[in-house]
Amino acid sequence: MSENRVLELADVDSGYGDVQVLTDLSLHVNENEIVCLIGPNGAGKSTVLKTAFGLLSPWTGSVTYHGDQIGGMAPEDIVREGIGYVPQTDNVFGSLTIDENLRMGGVARESGLDRVIGDLYDQFALLDERRKSKARTLSGGQRQVLAFARALVMEPDVLLIDEPSAGLAPNTADEVFEHVQAVNDLDTAILMVEQNAKKGLGISDRGYVLDQGTVRFEDAADGLLDNEEVSKLYLGA
């Protein structure tokens, strides 16, 4: 595994308004790996993604992308750097067609929009079949795929995904995880928050366990799955 860090948060404090959520949090994502953030509700998992993506500014500490400081930059600029973000809910434009959703994903591209969208249609056949349908007519799992595809139009080096399986039936969730792996196969690193810790870690290279806004455990995904303390406290085993 290459130790080339795509994204790194170092000693970050962050939160909403006056409410601090993250305390002295450090984590990183290497090139091409899948990293899973697990932990109880309210641990600050989504806050990590929002801080990395500029939806929240870090109060202290640094956020770097390929070594360059991006902490405090606006999301519309961070997208242009090469980071994609898939929110947990409301992650497609329901009143726009699938094709329009993908075009919106590529507004910041200077060239090659049609080529990339063509490639995404090749990869995700279900989107290809329904180009002119409104996104709100898609099922939960299909929406999630569209949400990934929208974020991939920018060909990001790292994709931040917030709870890809939230609200999905188990079978559908499995399909979505397969898509996450397929995205990763395109040389896109992934930092994923997942409530379903076992499945999330199951497809990941490494994982972090967050609790009360800071990292409690960090290890290879297999290591975390085998860790008795992690199992007992966080995997519900």
């Binding site: 993506f53 939806l55 606006a74 999301p75 519309e76 997208v79 242009r80 973000y85 929110p87 409301d90 992650n91 497609v92 434009f93 329901g94 009143s95 726009l96 329009e100 075009r103 919106m104 994903g105 507004v107 910041a108 929208r150 920018m154």
Partner: protein
């Protein structure tokens, strides 16, 4: 057959309401507040046209009873209404961090300021554009329709503007971004849309259409500093009826409210003793009735 006459009048009045409704709904969907200064933005359009037309005169030829100079004045009305709205947005609304209700109250203040300035310059009295008063179109009179070429110009111009907006929304990059932002502002930012620019264009388009509506309102009735504000409640009714935030809902709501307003005489024709002076009340009753069945308006989406 007075019905045809009522329908024709409804179409004319609707054209004006629709032009006002679109901007109100657009701004609501993207800036997230009910802009009470929108009616007075219409008034700004009307008075700008009055000034411009007075300054440049007829410029030779005429179409549909309106001198070329009047159409230039129309464009000036659109441009100045848009400019004033954009400046207001940059100087007042944008720096404010007071939530939707605070913005609403602020916009009421802005409405008073616009109106006061117009009243200081033009006085409170009614006035007219210096265009010839036309007789009704001859060949329509046997059908019971008494409308002038000016009325036709209003309807045609509104149709052109609304069609233009539709094409913009559906087939241009800016239009797609506007729809994306209205749909989900946070996802729009996350996708990399420069939302500030889209907002700016939304103000330009919404206020520009309002300016056009104001110019036509002045042509249809007369001009007075209160003209836009008087129409504002009806425009709100139209926007809410159609589904606030939806541009196409605003078009439909504007059309319906305008029609209802002008179809009022039917009631008295059938012996129901509700005079046309109650037109607004009836329009609101119908709006409330529709909202009881469809709380988000006719084209509004359930949230």
């Amino acid at each position: 057959m007075p019905l045809l006459e009522y329908l024709a009048n409804g179409l004319i009045f609707s054209s004006i309401i629709v032009l006002g409704s679109i901007g109100l709904s657009l701004v609501y969907s993207i800036a997230d507040f009910a802009n009470f200064a929108h009616g007075d933005t219409m008034t700004i359009g009307a008075y700008t046209a009055l000034l411009t037309f007075g300054a440049i005169g007829s410029l030779g030829g005429a179409v549909l009873g309106l001198p070329f100079g009047f159409f230039v004045a129309l464009l000036a009305g659109i441009a100045v209404a848009a400019l004033v709205a954009v400046v207001t947005e940059r100087v007042v609304y944008k720096p404010m961090d007071v939530g939707s209700i605070g913005m609403l109250i602020t916009s009421i203040g802005i409405a008073f300021i616009y109106r006061a300035i117009l009243q200081l310059r033009f006085g409170a009295d009614f006035t007219r554009y210096d265009v010839q008063t036309l007789r009704p179109i001859e060949w329509l009179i046997p059908y019971g329709i008494r409308i002038t070429e000016h009325d036709v110009a209003i309807v045609l111009s509104a149709a052109i503007l609304v069609t233009g907006l539709h094409l913009l929304l559906q087939y241009t990059d800016l239009g797609r971004k506007m729809r994306a932002m209205a749909d989900n502002p946070e996802l729009a930012r996350v996708s990399g849309i420069r939302t500030d620019r889209v907002k700016l264009w939304t103000w330009v388009i919404g206020a520009g259409l309002a300016g056009a509506g104001g110019v036509f309102l002045g042509l249809y009735n007369q001009l007075s500093p209160r003209m836009g504000f008087s129409l504002l409640l009806l425009i709100f009714a139209a926007v809410i009826l159609g589904g606030i935030g939806s541009v196409y809902g605003a078009m439909l709501g504007g059309f319906l409210i305008g029609m209802i307003n002008q179809l009022m005489p039917i009631l008295t024709d059938y012996g129901i003793p509700i005079g046309i002076e109650y037109a607004n009340a009836v329009a609101f009753v119908i709006m409330v009735a529709v909202l009881l069945v469809r709380p988000n308006g006719i084209m509004g989406e359930a949230t």
